[in-house]
Amino acid sequence: MTAQRFYEILGDIDEKNLKDAEQPPKTKKHLQLKYIVAMVACFVAIVVIGINLRERNPYISNPSNDESSGSAISVEQKDVNIYYLDGDELAYKAEYMECLPETVFASWKKANNIGEDVKLINVEIKSNGQENNNSTDSSIAGYSVGDQFIMEVTLTESIKNYFSVKSEEKLMESLRLTLTGYIYIDCDKFYVLYE
């Protein structure tokens, strides 16, 4: 048989096979060595970058540097301005400390010669932000960020004992400046409650 005749016979290949051959088959991709090497290199790069970020960023927990707290998240530490009454005048000093309300409040008490009988019960920041109800899709939760923030501080009533010695207005002003000064939110209003 001639090659030409056989070529003509090959023309009678089943239509289904001809139709299938109009598009290349979807083959399973075999991972080649170069791709495996590239993937491993990417993984190593991610791990190295992650370690560097962990060492540089105080917000990211680093168990090796924070064994004492046992906390999963480290607290930012920085210079905090502690305001106090120097006579009748407001003054401040910077102290390096953990940015926790309890820690800052303790330093404020110490700077203003306020005893351990006064305790910080609660600090709350409220805003006028609110949840949105999406009427078209109940599965989507929405929230409008507010534009006003109010810090509400609750102290034990024993603080009132010091108002006879220090001006209440100026003492609370020093507390306001201290507690609102180290956070990254500009509070429009500041309230103190006594319990």
Binding site: T2, A3, I9, G11, D12, I13, E15, A21, P24, T27
Partner: protein
């Protein structure tokens, strides 16, 4: 060529136009399968003018074939016609020693399967042989079947096949070589004197 935004007609609708003897059938066939037919003709003839001539002959032959034929797959129906017409054109050109054809290389490859000697009984066994070739092709894996059909039916270049299936040219070349040997042995085992 299909205009941008123009949706090609379904095969059934085009075939119905042929059955209704509407000349719009050729317009729609050309719009949907013009490039497809031209690529097959170009693979065989390697000459655009000859290829376009064959494609136009294909439309005419399709017009004359439907009815009585009523193909389910219009693409392979017109594909087979354009392949036959183009190959006949190739043979006519080849007798005039016009070279540069991919199909000449393919025929050389097919010579490894057959003896290249002419015999009267070849025409008698042609139908049976076609069935056996189809059985062989059906037994191939999907990727090998694709390579075989693209090479020996669509007459694609090895470079094009390698590109389309994401393999190296060497891989396609080796696979084709193996399949030719397998096909020869397959047919000899079934009593064909090639």
């Amino acid at each position: 060529m299909i205009e941008m935004g123009c949706v090609p007609m379904e095969d059934k609708e085009i075939v119905q136009l042929y059955l209704d003897r509407s000349e719009q059938a050729i317009v729609e066939t050309s719009a949907k399968y013009g490039n497809y037919c031209t690529s097959i003709a170009m693979n065989i003839l390697n000459n655009l003018q000859d290829a376009e001539e064959c494609v136009n002959d294909t439309y005419l032959k399709t017009w004359n074939s439907i009815p009585p034929h009523k193909p389910n797959l219009l693409s392979t129906f017109v594909g087979k016609i354009v392949r036959n017409i183009s190959f006949n054109k190739y043979k006519a050109n080849h007798s005039m020693k016009r070279g540069g054809y991919e199909v000449a290389v393919i025929l050389d490859e097919i010579s490894e399967i057959v003896s290249n000697s002419e015999a009267v009984e070849d025409e008698i066994i042609a139908n049976e042989l076609a069935k056996s070739v189809n059985e062989f092709i059906n037994d191939l894996s999907e990727s090998k079947r694709y390579i075989f059909i693209r090479r020996y039916w669509y007459s694609d270049k090895i470079t094009a096949i390698a590109h389309r299936c994401g393999r190296s040219e060497n891989y396609v070349h080796v696979e084709l070589n193996r399949m030719r040997k397998q096909l020869r042995n397959y047919l000899i085992e079934r009593g064909y004197e090639l």
